[in-house]
């Protein structure tokens, strides 16, 4: 057996054992001779690792598409027009999404810079109040650090005052800038410990509000955002919903041709289907007369009984059977007995 298959089977087994035990064992239990064991201590990290793994598969998919369809286009094989259209759509969405991501990232980075100042203001207070011995000589005195904070905040405020974007002209944004400036000026006048760090906290609170507001400010929509919206919302979303909307017509045609009452069972099934449909459509389209009102009050109740009692019983049985089948399949894949999953079995 090739090494790659052995590795796949090994990691499949280990992964299965971990998640099996994670589900069964209590979070903490006592092991004689070892003490209290916390199983699943690193579950969050494993979850993040699996997310990273799945993200890598996006790259794999991309590579496959480029190679597969690229060959068709380069050698002008049958269907090369469709492959070109696919590759063009792929390239355009990649580029536009990348630009969109960059723009969003710039917004959040701008907010992060303000939060950094906020954290610095709070850190000055924490370090001064810390009972642990700090590295003497490496940390500047409180007054000096506060003055650095004040200067940095003033520079950031000048930058933000020149901001141009959606909402930057709003009264709320300007009021916020003014209040941060006032808190900054107050700290500039008393940078020492006289205020017992109340001014640091006040400035930190205002910087927090400013950072949150900055994160919400949207840049003026650029060309790439408009194109992204046209391609994604206008084309992709619309085409996707249209494709599935077509199913409605096929169902109508299939229902007309195929739903025939040939036996008692099919008659029962048809009656149940009719009652369920009539129970959830707005029967008030028959008018708000007594007839319409009466139908509207009877069918939903009968429908609910049908779904709650016979349907639930049947579906529970189906779910149980399907779950047992899925469990058997899961065991087969866990122990790599399922031959189709990980490559061909060697012929004996």
């Amino acid at each position: 057996m090739p090494l790659s298959q052995r590795l796949i089977r090994f990691f499949t087994l280990i992964g299965g054992v971990y998640f099996f035990l994670k589900f069964l064992l209590p979070r903490e239990f006592d092991l004689p001779g070892v003490g209290t064991v916390t199983f699943g201590k690193y579950h969050e990290q494993i979850s993040v690792g699996l997310t990273a793994l799945v993200s890598m598969s996006v790259g794999l998919g991309l590579g496959n598409m480029l190679f597969g369809h690229g060959k068709v286009v380069v050698y002008l094989r049958q269907g090369w027009v469709f492959s070109s259209a696919l590759l063009l759509g792929l390239a355009s969405m990649l580029v536009l999404s990348g630009l969109e991501w960059r723009s969003t990232r710039a917004q959040s980075s701008a907010a992060e810079e303000i939060f950094l100042l906020r954290d610095f203001a709070l850190r000055i207070k924490e370090d001064a109040e810390s009972k642990e011995p700090l590295s003497v000589g490496l940390i500047k005195p409180v007054e000096e650090r506060n003055l650095i904070l004040v200067e940095s905040t003033a520079r950031k405020l000048d930058e933000l005052a020149a901001l141009d974007g959606n909402g930057a002209e709003s009264a709320e944004w300007k009021t916020l800038l003014t209040s941060v400036k006032a808190a900054n000026d107050a700290l500039r006048r008393s940078p020492g410990v006289e205020s017992e760090f109340a001014l640091n906290q006040a400035l930190a609170a205002k910087l927090g509000e400013l950072g949150a507001a900055r994160g919400r400010l949207q840049a003026e929509p650029g060309v790439q955002q408009g194109l992204y919206r046209i391609l994604f919302n206008g084309l992709f979303v619309s085409l996707g919903s249209a494709m599935f909307a077509l199913l409605g017509f096929y169902i109508a045609s299939a229902a007309y041709r195929a739903f025939r009452i040939r036996s008692v069972e099919s008659a029962l099934m048809m009656s149940a289907a009719v009652i369920v449909i009539l129970g959830q459509i707005p029967l008030a389209i028959f008018g708000y007369s007594d007839f319409g009102q009466r139908l509207q009050s009877i069918f939903p109740v009968v429908r609910q009984w049908l779904l709650t009692v016979p349907n639930s019983a049947a579906f529970r049985a189906i779910e149980l059977g399907a779950s047992i089948g899925a469990l058997v399949m899961a065991f087969r894949m866990w122990f790599s007995i399922e031959s189709s999953s990980f490559g061909k079995q060697e012929k004996k």
């Binding site: 990232r105 459509i281 779904l307 709650t308 579906f315 779910e319």
Partner: protein, 286 residues
């Protein structure tokens, strides 16, 4: 008798769907008890300090006709009640809805009530799409000692710790209500199985497409699910309840879509009856 040409069937269905939409006929929907339970849950929900509601939007463009009206009415109710919520998804194609739906609903509410404001980061947060195995992600979220540290950032790249909506949110105990809106088979079961820890489990509400209603009922019966929006009919009844509670609200699309769908379903029923009548007549002749 000759069978009806399928093009006539398509035309009939097209007329049945489009006429109510064009004429803006919004018939009063059927009363659905489990949609009322969803409404009641949100209406009575009170958030403690550090609490937040989690809303999972796990649908894409293919089922937006049913799931989007459900999402609209639920998010509108949450925003009106000032119940802060976080949007989340396991499905990549839901990405566009995570941003657009709450934004559009908030703008609609601010037009209706010019003196009120609903702000991103304060009233709602978009956590974005979490790729990977749903069961692993959900379990990690449920067992996390600090949800903010586990999720870290929202979809816009802002640190969750800096957003007012996530202030003091720590563990699963801070999520009293979980709402999932999906058309995907199998995702709801992952939440039922894994979004819990010891004796802590949020109250579950669910919005599904018509085809998965029968499956959802077994969870209603067992109590694992508290309320259910049954397709667009559930959204329409919910919309009616919202209008009764907030009379000045702008009407949404749920009632229109529900009416169009109802007429189309009646046409399909009529076609089935016609088909069976023709079948029996032909059998008699033979």
């Amino acid at each position: 008798m000759r069978e009806l040409d399928r093009r006539i069937i398509y035309l009939l269905v097209f007329i049945a769907l489009s006429v109510p939409l064009i004429l803006k006929v919004a018939a009063s929907p059927a009363r659905l008890q489990f949609a009322e339970k969803v409404f009641q849950s949100i209406e009575e929900q009170k958030l403690g300090r550090g609490d937040i509601v989690l809303v999972a939007i796990d649908f894409g463009p293919n089922s937006m006709a049913e799931n989007k009206p459900q999402t609209d009415v639920i998010i509108e109710h949450l925003l009106r009640k000032r119940i802060k919520f976080a949007l989340y998804s396991q499905y990549l194609l839901a990405q566009t809805f995570l941003e657009s739906i709450p934004q559009n609903v908030a703008e609609r509410l601010m037009r209706e009530q010019p003196n009120e404001r609903w702000v991103y980061g304060v009233d709602w947060v978009n956590i974005g799409v979490k790729l990977g195995s749903p069961s692993v992600n959900i379990q990690a979220l449920a067992e996390s000692k600090n949800i903010v540290e586990y999720l870290r950032k929202d979809a816009r790249g802002n640190s969750l710790a800096d957003l007012p909506a996530f202030k003091d949110v720590r563990r699963l105990e801070n999520i009293p209500l979980f709402i999932q809106l999906t058309s995907l088979v199998g995702t709801f079961e992952s939440y039922v199985q894994f979004l819990k820890r010891d004796n802590v489990r949020p109250r579950f509400l669910h919005g599904c497409t018509s085809i998965t209603i029968p499956k959802a009922y077994i969870y209603l019966d067992s109590g694992q699910l508290y309320g259910l929006l049954e397709g667009v009919a559930g959204a329409a009844w919910y919309s009616t309840l919202l209008t009764k509670k907030f009379p000045g609200r702008e009407p949404d699309d749920a009632l229109l879509i529900n009416t169009g769908l109802g007429v189309a379903q009646l046409v399909i029923l009529a076609l089935i009856v016609v088909g069976n009548v023709m079948y029996f007549v032909q059998r008699r002749r033979v």
